[in-house]
Amino acid sequence: MKRVFALALGVMTAIGGFVDVGNLVTSGITGARFGMSLTWAIVVGTIAMTLYGEMAGRVAAVARRPVFHIIRERLGVRTALVNLLAFVLLSLLTLAAELGGVALVLELVTGINYLVWVPLIAAAVWLIVWRMSFSVMENLFGVLGLCLVVFVVALFVLPTDWGSLWHGVTHPWVPPREGHPMYLFYAVSLLGACLVPYQVVFFSSGGREEHWTPKNLTEMRFNCVVGFPLGGLLSIAIMAAAAVVLQPLQINVKHLGQVALPVARALGPVGLSIALVGFAAALLAAAAECALSIGYSVGQFFGWSWGKDRRPREAPRFHLVCLVAVIAATAFILTSIDPIAVTVVSVVLGAAAVPLTYFPVLVVANDRDYMGGRVNRRWSNALATVFLVLMVVTSIAAIPLIFFTKAGQ
């Protein structure tokens, strides 16, 4: 019974942890602008995340090495340093977007400008990183993030034309007023939202925090194979709710509050309040995970003592990096730059940086010196290679698309 509970908790955490500000914003925008015709991007991104998440978790359990430790070992110090810089800059941008996202939720709750909330949220994130135990953080916010299931419930309450939604999924098309570059930009943004590198770093480092061994492989795989796809389903539900309510009204989503309107229409104030709790929990957890991932990556690269459950005096440089990351992201978002614009750019840039993080994981997952008999199977390698090629193509296209579409405007 205890084992079943642990499995269920792990899956719920994976579902809640999958959705962050990138998924909320991009799913809402694309549902309102393109209907369901970009669902394939979430499906592809979720399968790739599941595959590579499982690999990173397996490497953490079997080789007992987290992602950045591997990157430094396999790529050498200089190349890995470039990788580290790209990862840290991108994660800072993501952290800023997550902090801004929580602040926007509090603005929707209280009516007080989001900029007032940013420093308070930053302090809360730092307290979570500093004081809350790893398992409590993961499970509490993961489970609260499940409040986003209201989007699935809303779809059943709304007058949803399921046939039309399914037709949109199976017959992707580009609306005439959008054009192909805009369609591709948002396809890349959805892929980037599903494949954010910090999630892999956090997942594998978390595995080391929880002292995974090969005995934990079944539990880890269950979390990945069930939890991540259900998280992807939540993203699709958010997209579908926007497609049902916002697209017919030709509403162009620019604010987080607009993403919640379909739930208000379907379920009234109770549903809306649950959705906002889900937003806040998912984004606050993502902010803490992002700050930790920056600390993990730097600590692992330089070989420092690292770990959330280690006291500041035991891992001072790790905790200092986490603190500096939170301060830097807070300062950036306090410039009053639009958090939604930051989110969209961060997920597309994330798509550009994905191969840097994922390629070393694929290499090590095939290395018998590290993995013994638990290397990738052939089908797994074939699928991972296809996704890696797709990620490389996406990463080449990402930055030109940002300029060409003015970041989707």
Partner: protein, 144 residues
């Protein structure tokens, strides 16, 4: 550094630059009308739900304030563009009044929502119908 540059570039994407062709000016006009239309629809949806008791917390107030702000900023950014020809100047003169009327109607709705007076909110909400229909018609004409 690159990230900051790209985010700044994205943020600057909303700033008005020179428009030198009729096609470019027409596209900017269609974009502005689309923004206003989206803002009007957001405000109508949020306030309509609020009047039915389906909204909570500050979401109605925020939705309407953001809708007004978006419409106003899109309209004023479009107004700073110089029409590149006489034909586009005529288009500007045809669009400018209705666009300002729509922003003004959103402003009235925002004030009514802030005051919390249901009758004033209903009146202001009804006041969005005509600007929404006009903007929709103009939008079709400009895009078509």
């Amino acid at each position: 550094m690159l990230c900051a540059l790209l985010v700044s570039a994205a943020a600057a994407g909303g700033c008005a630059g020179p428009t030198v062709t009729d096609g470019g000016y027409r596209a900017k006009t269609a974009g502005m009308l689309g923004d206003i239309s989206s803002s009007l629809a957001t405000a109508q949806l949020a306030v309509g739900l609020d009047l039915k008791g389906r909204m909570a917390l500050a979401l109605t107030d925020e939705s309407v304030s953001q809708a007004e702000s978006d419409a106003s900023s899109s309209e004023s950014s479009w107004e700073t563009r110089q029409p590149p020809s006489d034909a586009m100047l005529a288009l500007h003169d045809r669009i400018s009044g209705p666009a300002q009327d729509a922003v003004s109607a959103l402003r009235k709705l925002r004030i009514a929502v802030r005051r919390g007076d249901p009758d004033a909110i209903r009146t202001a909400l009804d006041g969005l119908d005509e600007p929404a229909a006009v903007i929709d018609r103009l939008s079709r004409a400009v895009s078509g």
